[in-house]
């Protein structure tokens, strides 16, 4: 397959189209705008629909309407825009509607900065919207991985009839890299499904797509969602484990931060430091086993490296470590980028201080 040199946002747009997305509603926001720009001309080429909505709120609700008909629908934004969509995402979850959502994170909080960051981890994995629902969250650390994950995302969304989030950042969105594009998926003849609205040519379905249920019904749905989350945790965790076998120090990092950390690890390995990495690819379900089942007789400490201050993944890590080793963190935020040298120096400093304390 030919390799192309593409910008992250555009590669993700193409991956979505090849993955079967035929409806996109979006809104301009840096550093994500090339996604709607690309799809504005690309989707019509495949008889899809692109709409620039009047706001992120309108966009997520257009996706809600499209998903109700069975169309494969997607929206994208960046941090503040995702906050605006949170009510709609909760409605998608409660109404059991499949949808793909892309967040190209930027510095925050507030208007934040248009530079890359990873400060939406908690929003993405704990409470993408009100009501305590959970959502699968994928975190690529390269443009190729972003393409692969976005290509697969509609399958998860349809399987679970749930929104799915792909959590990127400004780096992945705007940098360019080699990428191999997957083939076009075979799409079904009709978008109609047993549960969708819209006359399917035979019986009038009389279906109702709604997040509104009588109280006991809503509770029943919540219990089903808990069972589904368990299935995610058992079957759908994706994680990369790097140089863990003899590791005395374990970095935990995802997305772009994990690439910077990997470089630091290679340099430290050359200096004889036994350091490895656990890289969550699914942030939810979180790769609990990888951390819980480390050999704590060998591991002296873990270091959570993120483009966020404070490190937002830290509590999830500590929940698995359960005090069997100290957990440290290093990060930049607000749009300030991590770089190899500072990261390597920070790891070194943590290790030195830990060993000097004896």
């Amino acid at each position: 397959m030919a390799k192309l040199f593409m910008k992250g946002n555009e590669a993700v747009g193409e991956a979505a189209v090849r993955g079967g997305i035929r409806f996109f509603a979006g809104y301009p926001i840096t550093p994500q705008s090339e996604l709607p720009e690309y799809l504005s001309w690309r989707l019509p080429e495949v008889c899809g629909t692109f709409i620039q909505a009047e706001s992120e709120v309108a966009a997520i609700n257009m996706v809600y309407g499209a998903a109700a008909t069975g169309a494969r629908a997607m929206t994208g934004s960046s941090s503040p825009g995702i906050s605006l969509k949170s009510e709609g995402i909760s409605y998608l979850s409660a109404a059991e509607l499949p949808a793909v959502i892309i967040n190209v994170q930027r510095g925050g909080p507030g208007l934040g900065s248009i530079q890359p960051a990873q400060q939406d981890y908690l929003q993405a994995t704990k409470a993408p919207g009100h009501g305590g629902f959970r959502m699968m969250v994928f975190a690529p650390n390269s443009i190729q991985e972003a393409v692969d994950l976005v290509y697969e995302a509609p399958e998860y969304a349809d399987r679970d009839r749930s929104p799915v989030l792909v959590l990127m950042d400004g780096c992945l969105g705007t940098m360019m890299d080699e990428v191999e594009l997957p083939p076009f998926k075979e799409l079904p003849e009709t978008i109609c499904k047993p549960w969708t609205v819209g006359y399917d040519g035979t019986t009038r379905s009389g279906h109702l797509i709604t997040p509104i249920y009588p109280e006991a019904g809503l509770e029943g749905k919540n219990k089903l969602a808990v069972a589904r989350t368990k299935r995610w945790e058992e079957n759908d965790v994706q994680v990369e484990e790097f140089m863990l076998d003899d590791a005395e120090w374990v970095i935990v990092a995802y997305g772009i931060a994990s690439r910077v950390a990997k470089q630091a690890i290679l340099n430290l390995r050359n200096k004889g430091v036994k350091v490895g990495m656990i890289r969550p690819i699914t942030l939810f379900p979180f790769p609990k086993k990888s951390i819980a089942e480390l050999d704590y007789s060998q591991v002296k400490g873990l270091i959570d490296i993120e483009m966020s201050i404070p490190a937002l993944m830290r509590e999830d890590i500590e929940l698995q470590v359960l005090g069997r080793a100290p957990v440290y963190e290093y990060g930049r935020s607000g749009g300030v980028l991590l770089d190899d040298d500072s990261t390597e120096a920070a790891i070194w400093k943590i290790i030195e201080e830990a060993s000097s304390n004896g």
Binding site: F23, N61, Y64, G65, T69
Partner: protein, 251 residues
């Protein structure tokens, strides 16, 4: 048994609506239902419901339905119609849903000329939540959030939605009717049916505002609420056809 020349429209379930006695939301729903059955399109309809009293219609219609977040029905309807252009997609919204939280969505859907039909029920209050002030609450009219009567110095003036929508280029039909009398009800029925026919004919965006009552939150009997509408609501919101580009095209 004698032959029925009129009965409850079949696209409504044969049970009571969720509305209060004498609520003209219910009458508006009936007129829409009659239009759907007379046009023979019930199978193709996808109704987008708002958040408000008329959300209860999700238990009353025998149609495909999608309930939307508060204020977002026009956006949801846009998504539905774009993916099912063959369907007859209409949203029915109250004044809180459409003219307050959803003002941007309805004006932008209208401005894009989405091929959908929006019915806007204006009863100058938030019925479902117990009678708070709406964007269409009249000057001096009392509500639970303007207990001494609406004061324009702090809350501005009632919004005339048809007059806003008619300024946009794309809409092909913009009209306001009142459901206060048999004659006006019949006129409204014609307007409702036309607004749906426009969509069937693929002519574009239609907007129909229906002046109705809220006996419960206005604190009156249904009959008294009709008189109130005539002496107050209908004076501030003139009933007429503001835009009808469908006639010009036929000439």
């Amino acid at each position: 048994m004698a032959e029925k020349i009129y009965t409850k429209p079949p696209c409504l379930l044969p049970l009571s609506s969720g509305f209060c006695p004498g609520c003209l939301h219910s009458l508006a729903t009936k007129l829409i239902a009659e239009s759907i059955d007379e046009l023979g399109v019930a199978e193709k309809v996808i109704n987008v419901l708002p958040v408000g009293c008329s959300t209860m219609n999700s238990l009353y219609w025998k149609l495909d339905m999608v309930t939307s977040a508060h204020g977002r029905a026009p956006a949801v309807a846009t998504g539905v119609k774009r993916c099912r252009p063959d369907a007859l997609v209409f949203a029915y919204q109250g004044d809180g849903d459409l003219a307050s939280i959803g003002l941007s969505e309805v004006l932008m859907a209208a401005n894009r000329g989405e091929h959908i039909t929006i019915f806007f029920a204006n009863n100058s209050t938030y019925g479902m939540t117990g009678g708070q002030m709406a964007p269409t609450t009249l000057i001096g009219q009392k509500s639970t959030t303007c207990v001494f009567g609406r004061d324009p110095d702090t809350t501005g003036f009632p919004i005339r939605m048809c007059e806003l929508v008619k300024e946009l280029e794309a809409p092909v039909y913009v009209a306001r009717f009142a459901l206060n009398s048999p004659a006006n009800i019949r006129k409204a029925k014609k307007g409702i049916k036309k607004a749906m026919q426009n969509q069937i004919d693929g002519l574009g965006f239609s907007f129909v505002e229906l002046l109705i009552n809220c006996p419960t939150n206005w604190g009156m009997s249904p009959v008294q609420s009709i008189a109130y509408m005539e002496e107050n609501t209908m004076k501030y919101f003139p009933c007429k056809v503001f835009v009808d580009k469908t006639e010009e095209e036929e000439k």
